[in-house]
């Protein structure tokens, strides 16, 4: 159990160290792909967010903007 935790902590620290490596502008090829965007399809995202908003109590986190509806 202790050994498992040590490995996990080391892993998390390594992840943060990796995070400190800067991606250079010329290395951005993969990150620029549309399938690597957080919202590759803004139109689809709007439809989806509205559907979940009208069926569930939770909402938000993705952005701010937009008006309300009588659907909830």
């Amino acid at each position: 159990m202790t050994r498992g935790w040590k490995t996990t902590c080391a892993g998390v620290v390594m992840l943060f160290l990796t995070a400190c490596t800067n991606v250079q502008p010329w290395e951005r090829g993969y990150l620029a792909r549309s399938d690597m965007q957080f919202e590759p399809d803004p139109a689809e995202a709007r439809i989806e967010q509205h559907m979940y908003f009208s069926k569930e109590a939770a909402s938000g986190g993705y952005g701010v903007g937009g008006g309300g509806c009588g659907c909830n």
Partner: protein, 385 residues
Amino acid sequence: MRLQLIPSAPILLKGVAGIALVGVVGGVLLPTTDGTAAPPASPQAAVKYSRYWESRDRVDVLSPLVWFLAPVGEKYSVELSGTVDSLSGATPQIDGISSATMSEHRKAADIKITRYFNEFDLAISGATSSEHDYHSTAFGADSRWYFNQKNTILGLGFNYSSDRITSTNDSEFREDAESRDFLIGITQELSTTDIIQSNLTYGHDSGYLSDPYKFALVSRQITQDLVIPTISDDTRPDERDRFAWLTRYNHHFPGLKASSHLDYRFFWDDWGVAAHTIDLEWYQQVGDNWMVRPAVRYYSQDQADFYVTDSSEMLDDYNSADYRLANFGALTLGLKIGRRINDYFSVDLKGEYYVQDNGLHLGGNGNSDDPVEAATMMLGLNINF
């Protein structure tokens, strides 16, 4: 409660001639040379035709949506979208008796104008939504601040919404509500193939937050020995504080020509609701022209404090039997397929199955009396001018 949040536009990079087909095949874009943000190189548009069916009430919603994004000069962009929902169906409900008439239209539109500076960008937005018994107007501002050659982005946002609620059952009924939403978020590039974003949003709703068409069957103590059934209006508090913390992580697998999206959101509010959402999507490029994207989403929520589980519950200050405030879990399974036609056009087709079930509730305490089961199909045309 009333506010629906529009997702923020994707981060757009400079010098993207030959831009990847919007939302379809993940073609490689030309990398930036200076790591600053700028408007998209060319206008993009999408037309989506979405159909939604619910099994329990035979609700059927048809929603065409149009979306448009374009640069305006070197330093501005404008984003617009508009939709019309046509809803038909019946809603007989057992516990939370509803008397809503069911054939309505909702029209909604939004606009965002972004100004790009060297180290940050700033946007203002407006939105409107109207149905015959609900009108909403919203405006907001958001910005992104760039650090570490755009490896790190700080996002800030604010939105205000004002709603007017009426009722087809009562021509004298007229209430107002407002919402204020705030966002703070960090986006961090972790490597050439990894990016993570974490956003915290806070919202405050005030005014009439109940549903004028809903009722709850509860019990009322008349004397020490006499308890009678009674019907209560759906009465919710006139204030609500809500929080959502979303963390999402994208990873690209160059060898597989695929990318994974993994999102987790924790939601909580002062009505007693707490909810977990986990979303996993896999974008698989197939050849040069196809994209296949399976997706799975799991959701679980805990009920509002004033949710009425059954009619033996006592009448309280706040009562609601609306299933959306119950304990339940939900699962979505989806598949989207995209096909690039040429440099200008691509099409996509998505099918999704959504089911709420008391058995999916995380604590095992599901008590919704009206779980939703639905299917969606979406057909889209994406244009890159």
